[in-house]
């Protein structure tokens, strides 16, 4: 385990995640002809929440506190497992650990909502489980296709090999489509559904636990936005030397973050919230797409 890179990643996650969330809010507001909050607004919200006292619902137990903390730790570990602005990987087998944590953290938020024993929280939690059950297989399969094509589970190796092709292209499309639901924003904000469920899983959280959840969600999203970098490396035939590699990695990393933020903001501005049945049909299609990518990857791997 590379501890300095790990520390850099964790620091980067805590600093950047709320900023990129603020950027998404700003872009969405501009697309809707509003001025919108400043891009540091999410940071101010989190700092304000952290200063407040901890209030737990009277029916909720110790778990109401455990799950927000768990969400934050899982998201930070998830982000820390990727090589973001560095060439070196912080962890061995980082690719698999990332998939594991990404899938798990989706379910943890759902469970967090249910621990409060508020009916709105429970309904929101159950919707989160439905979405996660539909979306996570696509995330697993599309990322497995990436790992399989690159032939390594270490992000270090993944970012160094350059092998583009149809399977990778299909995998990146499936991944980006899955990202829409993963971000928990419109049209897939069925769980939080402010106007309908008043925040769903988050309804009973306030003060520091809510800050942990919000920061956790932002860090998780940032980690997911970082992945297209590894797809992009394969598609840009720059013929890089080792010396230029690190600068390119940083540029591609930020390009990946901006690209995902813009895609999410556009989807948020141009669509209305989907119903559960519509979302499920959509993600069955995405799963089929990602499965095709995996099958093609297995065939490509078999022939090479």
């Amino acid at each position: 385990m590379n501890f300095p890179v790990l520390a850099i990643n964790i620091l980067l996650a805590i600093l950047m995640a709320p900023i990129f969330d603020g950027l998404r809010r700003k872009i969405t507001a501009r697309l809707q002809n509003r001025i919108g909050p400043p891009i540091t607004q999410t940071w101010y919200d989190i700092l304000k929440l952290l200063r407040k006292e901890i209030i737990l619902p009277e029916n909720g137990g110790f778990l109401v506190l455990v799950f927000p903390v768990l969400t934050l730790i899982l998201s930070l570990t998830m982000f820390a497992s990727i090589s973001t602005i560095t060439v070196q990987s912080p962890m061995e087998r980082g690719g698999i650990i990332f998939i594991e944590l990404a899938v798990l953290s989706a379910f943890v938020l759902a469970i967090a909502g249910s621990t409060s024993r508020n009916p709105y929280g429970m309904v929101g939690g159950s919707r989160e489980v439905i979405l996660a059950t539909l979306v996570e297989p696509s995330i697993i399969v599309s990322l497995t296709a990436l790992i399989l094509l690159k032939g390594s589970t270490t992000f270090d190796d993944i970012s160094r090999s350059y092998s583009a092709g149809i399977p990778l292209l299909i995998a990146v499309v499936a991944y980006l489509l899955s990202l829409l639901a993963e971000s928990g924003k419109i049209p897939f904000d069925l769980a939080e559904a402010e106007s309908e469920l008043s925040g769903g899983p988050l309804i009973e959280f306030s003060g520091p636990p809510l800050a942990f959840l919000k920061l956790g969600q932002s860090v998780r999203n940032l980690a997911l936005y970082s992945i297209p970098k590894f797809f992009m490396i394969a598609f840009i035939p720059l013929g890089l030397t080792e010396q230029h590699h690190s600068i390119t990695v940083v540029i591609l990393y930020f390009a990946s973050l901006f690209l995902c933020t813009i895609v999410i903001s556009l989807a948020e501005s141009l669509n209305a919230r989907y119903r559960l049945s519509e979302a499920s049909k959509f993600y069955v299609m995405v799963l089929v797409l990602s499965s095709i990518a995996l099958i093609l990857s297995v065939l490509t791997k078999g022939t090479s």
């Binding site: 903390v69 159950s126 009973e204």
Partner: protein, 482 residues
Amino acid sequence: MIQIVFYQALLVIPALVYFYSKKVAAISLAAIQILLLSLSIAGFVTLQFPQILIILACLVLLTDPGSNPQLLSIVTLISMVPLPGTLPLVSLALFIFIALSAKRCQKTLGLYMLIIIPLTFILQYLRYPFAALPLVLLLIGAPPFHKWFSDLYSNYRSTGVLVALTALTHLNAYQASYASLTSLLLFLGALMMIVGLFQCMVCKTFTELYSTSHRIVFGLLLVSASVSELRALFLYLLLPSIFTLSIIHFVHNSLAERTKKSGMFEFGGLSTGMKAQSACTLATYLILFTLVSLSSEIFMQIGISGNIEFILLGCITLFVAAASLAVFFRNYTLIYEGLSKSNIPSSSSQKFAVTALSAGNLVTALVPISSFSIFSSIGGLRPPEFEALNTLLLIVAAATILSAIIMVFAKPSKMRSWTTGYATLNELRESRGEIFTSWREIFEPIYAIKVPDDKASEIVGKINPIMIFVTLAVFAVIGEIL
């Protein structure tokens, strides 16, 4: 050798004492098992790995108040008899058939056992290396036999677990013989996990909960027992798996016995009276989830390094792991959370037993080397190399400790739950909360894709077992001729 036979003969005592007192039989069985282990550590008796495992499993399973020490002692006795090849498994199958006949239940399962035993002998006579395969699958409860196992578990839960473990250790020990059927075993293992997960999502009674948890755990063990590269993982999984199933049985069985209820929907709101039990159940579910997820990590690793079929297996296991967390939490919530329907005070001995089991489970799951050292110290085995660490369990443990620290230092205050003001919280719980409780919302979209499992079992169940026997025997002979 004489010594071992003598101690094995001792195991008959609990079976006889059982007619006098169930409690005394359980204590005497535990005492004999501990004596055997102590003599093994002292070097007076040499026990083999499967024998150590079965003794340890038996000791853990004895903590279940619903366990049957008479049957457990006979199973242990049969498992420990150093018989060659498939004979111990045949003896176990015969024993289960006799037990089922005595209870006059599970005719179909009994009939299948009677059919598969001669089939095993025919395959062995024809010198097929995998002669015991149908019997192993039957004893584990692999498809299509699992449909009849859910009822079996309502009568002989602990015995069922012990028998399945014996079958799995046999499979692992004779792994080379089954090499040509590895793909089939991997497929069946993955199918057991997926079907177990989906059935667990809709289970309504404790019996269903046992059988579905059994399927997930033994599906995973079946996969890891079938491949030589996964021997270390198989050994690591054994003890936490036994602990996990034992805790699930222990907690729910004591609940069912006290309330004389077996439906999961009849509970809820028990956490005030049963804090230790609810915490241990939750911890058990988390540990089971981390075991599945660690295994998926290892499957993916093997898949990436060249064994392509493990890629798909890794993806399936990874999904099972993540979804199982939500499913386990659904089961936990149904029993312990929500509107209070009955409040059951728990005894201190129960609290102690379940806490001790959970501690054992946590230690063996968190530190793989601890479960290896148990086997190595008793049986003189060399622990296999096992580099993976249960990262997720570490993260969950860290989050729990951190939350406890925050709870102590920040002293949170409690407030009434938030509501819109249009309806009382109880009204909302009864209407909207019910949606969560039954999870209709989840299963309508998911169950649009039908799980063909039960239907397949029903179709197989309608075919005359003698027809199946004749067909399989004919295939075996044709295979031999060709």
